[in-house]
Amino acid sequence: MEIRDNMSSDPRHQMLIDTLGAELTPVRRLPAPWMRAFGWLLIVAAIAAALLMHYGTAPMLQRWAGAHDLAWAAAGAVLTAACAAWAAFALGVPGRSRAWAWLPLPGALLWIGASGLGCLRTWLAPGTSIATGHQSADCLVFIVSFSIPLSALMIWLLRRACPLRPILTAILVGLASAAASASLLEICHAYDAAATDLLTHALAVGIVIAANAAMGGRLLLRR
């Protein structure tokens, strides 16, 4: 009788509940957001492993040992990617706070701050040069190119969830993908921090986030 007591007077609700009850099938629960983010990061790690096999770890470690700001910037990019992915998957679950969107902020500050500090150095990091305009454009193409499949994968995973704030979620998808791509770029990035290079990276990240907000938001809205 409790059911009837709680029901509205509208008979449509009881009819709909009966119909939905008849259609009920067992479902597999969505894994926790951190687990889903971890799965996505494993794909990124697999790509990183392939790039490391191709380029080797020595040049990257030599750059980091010579200029710690480069290492901190890389750590910031990795942290941003991980936190943005976690936040995006958390926002894919109804009832989770909008505050999750702030999770990538510390990593992003580290990434931007370390990159900016690198520009103030008056000496070149070992094994690097200052990127020309053409070389900076290659960085932009690299970040955008790697971001496309990574964003597509995350959107595909999120469509199984229920992002009630699709545009905010898509922005986080873009940030996670761009940060992951910038992290991957670090493996083969033989250029020292410079204003033009930093601006190119920022432009690439902005393009990826904007494209996700415009397209990813609509794709996520379909649920």
Binding site: E2, M7, S8, R12, L24, V27, V93, P94, L164
Partner: protein, 218 residues
């Protein structure tokens, strides 16, 4: 922001939902009367995810009031509340796998209901912008002023004719001749064979009576 409703006693958090204690997890069968309604709903939904139809119908029925409360607080008009309930129930069915039994069912449901309420308000707003309200449509209709004025004049004429018909015969005759037919005093006297002075007096009296009947003047 939190919300405590008196009729159900359930608590909604707009922010992070309060996690339920896993050790205090209640199975659908054990969801007895001494269990809080929120925990009962959480247990029913968990059972529904495993395919328990009875628990599912219980939790959906129990959700109707909660959905209506959320929609009402979002400003959904009363006549659209049931539409929000329907849309929310359909969404709940489609995304029931996203519910985590370790967390609050009510917060999960409220987030979905809130989104469906916003969707309803937006579509309602779009429809209102697309469709012109009847009052405005009437104002903007070409020839609306003419039609309205004609109708008003016709009504006034009808009232005037009725008032004239109610006049005594002498006064009515004076009005018909000099007012309606626009004859001069001499022409009216000639036409009716009455004294011009009598016609003039009757006309004045008739006009006084008509003013009183039509405008309430004494």
């Amino acid at each position: 922001m939190s919300l405590l409703t008196a009729d159900t006693g359930w608590v909604l958090y707009d922010g992070i939902a309060p996690p339920l204690d896993r050790r205090a997890h209640v199975s659908a069968e054990n969801a007895s009367d001494d269990t809080s309604p929120e925990r009962r709903r959480a247990a029913w939904m968990a059972a529904a995810q495993a395919g328990d139809r009875i628990a599912y119908e219980r939790v959906l029925a129990s959700s109707v009031v909660l959905i209506r409360n959320v929609a009402r607080r979002r400003g959904v008009p009363v006549d659209a509340l049931d539409d929000v309930v329907q849309e929310t129930l359909l969404t709940v069915h489609r995304v029931r796998h996203t519910y985590d039994p370790a967390r609050s069912y009510d917060a999960w449901l409220a987030a979905i209901a809130g989104r469906r309420a916003i969707d309803m308000l937006r579509s309602h707003g779009r429809r209102q912008r697309r469709e012109t309200h009847d009052e405005f449509a009437l104002d903007q209709l070409a020839g609306h002023d003419d039609a309205s004025a004609t109708s008003e004049r016709a009504q006034e004429a009808s009232r005037l004719h009725a008032a004239i018909a109610g006049l005594p015969p002498g006064q009515r005759e004076a009005v018909e001749q000099m007012g309606l037919k626009e004859r001069s005093l001499a022409e009216a006297a000639s036409e009716t064979g009455r004294n011009a002075g009598a016609l003039k007096v009757n006309l004045h009296r008739a006009l006084k009576v008509l003013r009183g009947r039509l405008h309430g003047d004494s």
